[in-house]
């Protein structure tokens, strides 16, 4: 039986809450003298990274190792992949090595879906970011961070994010983080507003379960969490916005804007941050900014995902929902 995590849209509310609750329990491991569990002993997790992303890779690596899995890091750079080997042949190689799970980061949208449905491998596929499509574990760790801060008493075990108002600001068009967050947050009952210049909102966004605004100041006063997306400077050259300064003025988060947020509201950033672009140093370094906490939560979430996908004889979440429909 196949078991994969390809898209946040594949998760039901109960799946998502189970992952968050499991992560909440696993997070407590950090307080113990031995930060390791024997659960995935003898299982092999391959980190297959076609894009450089040291942060995501080490997060998955730490998660797998804390569950006692064997970890193989396969980076496209300097490997046969850079010599023209196809995704298929790479996958067949990993299959021959006995990979129980493949954590894949790929520049092509849909590559993890293809890997999971092509019959090239039997193991679980975990999407660690594909092109401008999705990054479901990032959305899960974001939701985990929100739940911890916004659930009132305690970490919110068993709860979703019903009624919470989340604002996601920036380059939605090119953001897999935004896509996964919109799906997951909607599933968890949150009210999501995307804020971006119209050039960075995808054509066809009207089918998404969220609101769209071009005016950050109009929404910032009534939000429980603001997520600032990284804006790549090269977008400027493609005429998505005129200048960095204009972008920062209209869509950046500075101290003044942060001061207009509700007192309990948090500032989130998936990293790496462009200080001075979408977020000022003052905000990035404030105690309302959860960027560092998100990184720590990422390990717990990825442990939870690996455990729930690999910890039994079949997946506890999202089983087979990404099979091709034909």
């Amino acid at each position: 039986m196949k078991r994969h995590l390809i898209s946040a849209a594949d998760l039901s509310r109960d799946d998502a809450v189970l992952i968050l609750d499991t992560a909440e329990e696993l997070a407590r491991l950090a307080d113990r003298p031995i930060k390791k569990l024997p659960t995935l002993r003898g299982r092999t997790v391959v980190n297959l990274f076609f894009e450089d992303s040291t942060r995501t890779r080490i997060s998955f690596e730490a998660a797998a190792k804390r569950l006692s899995a064997d970890v193989i890091n396969f980076s496209a750079k300097g490997s046969s992949v850079s010599k023209g080997e196809s995704l298929k042949d790479t996958a067949l190689t990993l299959e021959a090595m006995g990979a129980d799970a493949v954590v894949i980061r790929h520049h092509a949208s849909g590559a993890p879906h293809r890997l999971a449905t092509s019959g090239w491998i039997n193991g679980a596929v975990v999407n660690a970011g594909d092109g401008t499509h999705e990054h479901p574990t990032q959305a899960l760790l974001d939701a985990f961070t929100m739940r911890r801060h916004l659930s009132g008493e305690g970490p919110g075990v068993g709860q979703d994010l019903a009624g919470r108002r989340i604002t996601i600001v920036g380059d939605v068009l090119h953001s897999r983080v935004a896509r996964s967050n919109v799906h997951l947050l909607a599933t968890l009952g949150a009210e999501v507003t995307l804020v971006a210049p119209p050039t960075l909102v995808p054509f066809g966004v009207e089918s998404w379960p969220c609101e769209i605004s071009y005016d950050l100041d109009a929404v910032i006063g009534k939000t429980d969490a603001v997520m600032m997306l990284r804006v790549q400077r090269e977008r400027m050259n493609a005429a998505f916005f005129p200048t960095e300064r204009e972008y920062a003025r209209r869509y950046g988060l500075d101290g003044d804007r942060m001061a207009r947020m509700p007192e309990h509201a948090i500032v989130m950033h998936p990293g790496p941050m462009n200080r001075g672009m979408e977020i000022t140093a003052e905000v990035a370094d404030s105690d309302r900014c959860t960027a560092v906490e998100q990184v720590a939560n990422g390990v717990s979430i990825r442990m939870a995902v690996l455990y729930l996908l690999l910890g039994g004889n079949e997946s506890a979440v999202a089983a087979d929902r990404t099979e091709e429909s034909k």
């Binding site: 995704l87 298929k88 849909g110 590559a111 879906h113 995808p202 966004v205």
Partner: protein, 433 residues
Amino acid sequence: MTMSDTDKTLLRGAKVLGGEPRDVLIEGERIAAVGSGLDAAGATVIDVTGQILLPGLVDLHTHLREPGREDSETVLTGTKAAAAGGFTAVHAMANTFPVADTAGVVEQVWRLGKESGYCDVQPVGAVTVGLEGKKLAELGAMHDSAAGVRVFSDDGKCVDDAVIMRRALEYVKAFGGVIAQHAQEPRLTEGAQMNEGVVSAELGLGGWPAVAEESIIARDVLLAAHVGSRVHICHLSTAGSVELIRWAKSKGWNVTAEVTPHHLLLTDELVRSYNPVYKVNPPLRTEADVMALREALADGTIDCVATDHAPHPHEDKDCEWGAAAMGMVGLETALSVVQHTMVDTGLLDWAGVADRMSVRPSAIGRLAGHGRPVAPGEPANLTLLDSAYRGVVNPAGFASRSRNTPYEGRELPGRVTYTFLRGRATVVDGKLA
């Protein structure tokens, strides 16, 4: 039945253009008689009662890949596929390696077509050298060559420079040529992977907006009107393109257009599978576009069906979406898809199919001997179709060297039973002769 050595063949009971049953006698390369109760003496008799008889189909838009990409198709395998699909003539697109931008290359393709014997091959010449859009190819030389090129296209690439397009439109007037434009504004489609819309937004695939097609069509019909030449628009894919063609025709301008079978049936929803078999240029659009294209083909706004048969080797589709080649094979399923989308839906009768798949493409390509009436004295280029047949598409049985069909496993109606090229059967009882 068995074929004898005689050069007389009597088709018994064929529904000519879907009409009342008739006998059709083929003698040598030509149709000798059409009537009821024709004398079978000395003829091989084939009982085709209830089958539809059409003039041999003509494809304005075929990629035969030879020279250069013989791993995906050759002139021989491509013309076999064409015959199997009921075609008696195909226009071979110019994006080969080397590009068909000289008299030498088009003559090579033309000669290979002659040798194949399954289907007439009319080479299309490139508009610009190397399809690069910068410098006109020697259009006159290609026209004057043995290949007698009359259709010119940079297909796969758009002639996006307005001045080059204008000059090409003007230049081919000297010998009655036509420019077949692949309408794709290049800057609007940088990194494009699929139709820009609701699905692309969700899938995170680069969008190919309808306006990138429509803006070029708008410009080119205006240019053609301005210089008094004719322009043909390849593979229309959007409802907006249909409106522009309708408008240009209402002005009396010399504009023609084609639609592919896949754009008459498939939508971008299929891309959700990320299966590159659905990756094609122009991309699969929306249901509304599909309906507009069917309607336009029915009312004649769109002149013809052209397959854009685009073979690719397995490895170019057995990969992630972004790395996959664009294109679908189509020769062997075209008539079935047209029956399914146009005839079985009541939008077009068989006479209409003959018009859109044989008469009009022949006229656009000014192709002699094809698209003719089923009448005594005419060349016996004929196709017989068992329209009652229902079958599941199995690419393993294709004559094409490539298998990249979007219809694998799909049930489609209709089966080509016989194809005659100038009186000689290229397909007999559904199998290549």
